[in-house]
């Protein structure tokens, strides 16, 4: 991702040599995802996700807008990814036309928006004239690799956590109820796509990679920034828990054997499962903490049925 960060050739060589011997700098295994920390803010739809030293903040907001003319029954959904020098010196302010920025935002867009993770028809208020416009603003706070994976988790957590104000419709007249007045309603999330990025390294020379049958390219999951800078190729697989491939992007880079790529997809599925479970349990914990008096107010009792 970064262009202006240079790694000294001795460090680069050391990293590649250790990879060849099966070691990573942070003592992880090759197929180990870093621990994911999900922190919900006080407001609905305010999430900070940390993976290792990478930190991404996502904020969901909504407003009432007019739907597109050709899609009167659908609400609007935007994702904006913003990188600033805060994340690392390699990012420029206000410049998101770099190759990597475009690829990153396109992949998130395809993974979440195009795959229909958010039920946009549920955002319709009055067909053709009023609908909710949901916005996801992703801010990169600190960069240590894996932006795509982390942003995708952040956006999905944000969408699952967000509540939009309730509305009542009477003809063309609509009333938006404030959060105190009525319980806000969650968004319709149809599935949870999880992105897993693989980084490929070529331990031999280019000829062996293209012509040879060794297929001993090194394949890492969830690379750190240093590994990202030195990798020869990358593959981002997006899956959901229903065993559906939502999106795969291997935009060039080191040619890889098709079977190895399939293998990557299967590995990614295992990670998808654990991450999805983690997200749902974190959400549940947050919901419980917001509603800590529920047990007291409940009329349920512990009688044996």
């Amino acid at each position: 991702m970064a262009k202006d960060i240079d790694i000294s050739s001795s460090e680069a060589k050391f990293l590649i040599d250790s990879l060849k011997q099966g070691f990573r700098f942070d003592s992880r295994g090759f197929e180990e995802f870093r621990d994911v920390g999900i922190e919900f803010g006080k407001d609905f739809g305010d999430v900070t996700v940390t993976v290792g030293r990478t930190k991404v903040h996502c904020r969901i907001s909504c407003s009432i807008a007019q739907p597109y003319e050709d899609r009167p029954f659908e609400g609007l959904f935007y994702i904006s990814t913003e990188s600033s020098p805060m994340a690392g010196p390699q990012f420029e302010n206000g410049n998101n036309t770099g190759e990597d920025e475009v690829l990153c935002s396109r992949i998130i867009e395809k993974a979440v928006r195009r795959s229909g993770a958010l039920d946009v028809e549920g955002l319709c208020i009055v067909a053709g004239s009023k609908c909710w416009a949901v916005r996801a603003d992703v801010h990169f706070l600190n960069c240590d690799g894996g932006f795509i994976d982390v942003s995708c988790i952040a956006v999905m957590c944000g969408l699952l956590h967000f509540r939009k104000p309730d509305v009542t419709v009477a003809g063309e007249q609509i009333t938006v109820h404030s959060l105190d007045e009525r319980e806000p309603v969650p968004l319709g999330v149809l599935h949870i796509p999880i992105c897993v990025t693989f980084s490929f390294f070529n331990p031999e020379d280019a000829e062996e990679n293209i012509k040879g049958d060794l297929n001993n390219e090194i394949c890492l999951i969830d690379a750190t920034l240093k590994e990202e800078l030195l990798r020869d190729g990358t593959l981002t697989v997006t899956l959901n828990k229903n065993r559906e491939v939502v999106q795969v992007s291997k935009a060039g880079g080191l040619p890889m054997d098709a079977l190895m790529l399939m293998d990557c997809c299967h590995k990614a599925y295992k990670i998808t499962e654990t991450l999805t479970d983690q997200i749902t349990s974190e959400l549940k914990r947050d919901a419980d903490s917001r509603n800590q008096f529920a047990a007291m107010l409940s009329s349920e009792n512990a009688r044996v049925s």
């Binding site: 190759e99 475009v102 935002s105 899956l239 040619p255 098709a258 790529l261 399939m262 299967h266």
Partner: protein, 247 residues
């Protein structure tokens, strides 16, 4: 309008092909000799693509120069008349096109022997005169041909094709009607190997079907490589006979 039958029970597609048939592929190289160092014209079904390669040449900006190897730049010009309906806006700065350009640069970076041409730049210019589905695959084929025509050292051919999944049947080399009604996968295969340089899936596909989709895609790409190879050899023989008859 009645709904089109994408894949009939008899096993025929909208344009009469079977599931594993490619579209007509015609290509020629050295078509724009004065405008470029290498050029190709490719028709894959109704896709019509002109590819021009200039270079290796001195980079226009010093900052783009690399001391170790050549740099590749790809510019895609999708003309406004390329689809049935003329587009109201120019496609040039669309994020989709930027993404395609980046993907193509990264695909060919690993396949061109860039270390042979340090301090130079290879400019690839593509004009899409007409598009009818599977554009990315056709662009890859066009670039491969033009690079070969320019005499730039490459490790092998890269051939591209798209495969769709209709219910449980994989369909090879989609046209635009098919592409808009099912999920598709684009592959870029290196030579006769089973190595993928490019793999793009943009819509949902069941994980367990991926393998069969990839298999037919690789077979289709090998066939395209063969067709391109045949055309190149034909062209080579023609030029060789011109040279020998002149002496």
């Amino acid at each position: 309008m009645s709904r089109l039958e994408i894949y009939s029970p008899e096993g025929l597609r909208v344009d009469g092909r079977r599931w594993n048939e490619l579209r007509r592929l015609e290509c020629s190289i050295n078509t724009h000799t004065s405008a470029s160092d290498g050029s190709s014209y490719l028709e894959q079904g109704n896709n019509k693509i002109i590819t021009l390669v200039n270079g290796p040449q001195e980079p226009k900006l010093r900052s783009q120069m690399s001391i170790q190897k050549a740099t590749i730049s790809v510019a895609i010009n999708i003309t406004r008349f390329s689809k049935m309906e003329r587009s109201k806006t120019s496609h040039r700065n669309e994020r989709r096109v930027l993404e395609m350009q980046t993907a193509l640069v990264r695909t060919f970076e690993k396949n061109v022997q860039l270390h042979l041409y340090p301090r130079t730049q290879i400019d690839i210019q593509i004009h899409v005169l007409q598009q009818d589905g599977g554009l990315m695959g056709s662009l890859i084929n066009g670039i491969t041909l033009a690079l070969i025509d320019a005499g730039i050292a490459m490790y092998d051919y890269i051939s591209g094709v798209s495969v769709g999944l209709y219910d449980t049947t994989p369909l090879l080399d989609l046209n635009s009607v098919e592409e808009s009604s099912m999920s598709s996968v684009t592959l870029g295969v290196v030579g006769k190997s089973e190595k993928l340089s490019l793999l793009l899936v943009e819509d949902k596909i069941p994980l367990d079907r991926m393998e069969s989709v990839l298999a037919i895609g690789i077979a289709g790409s090998h066939r395209i490589r063969e067709l391109m190879d045949r055309e190149l050899r034909k062209h080579g023989r023609k030029r060789l006979s011109n040279v020998s008859s002149n002496n």
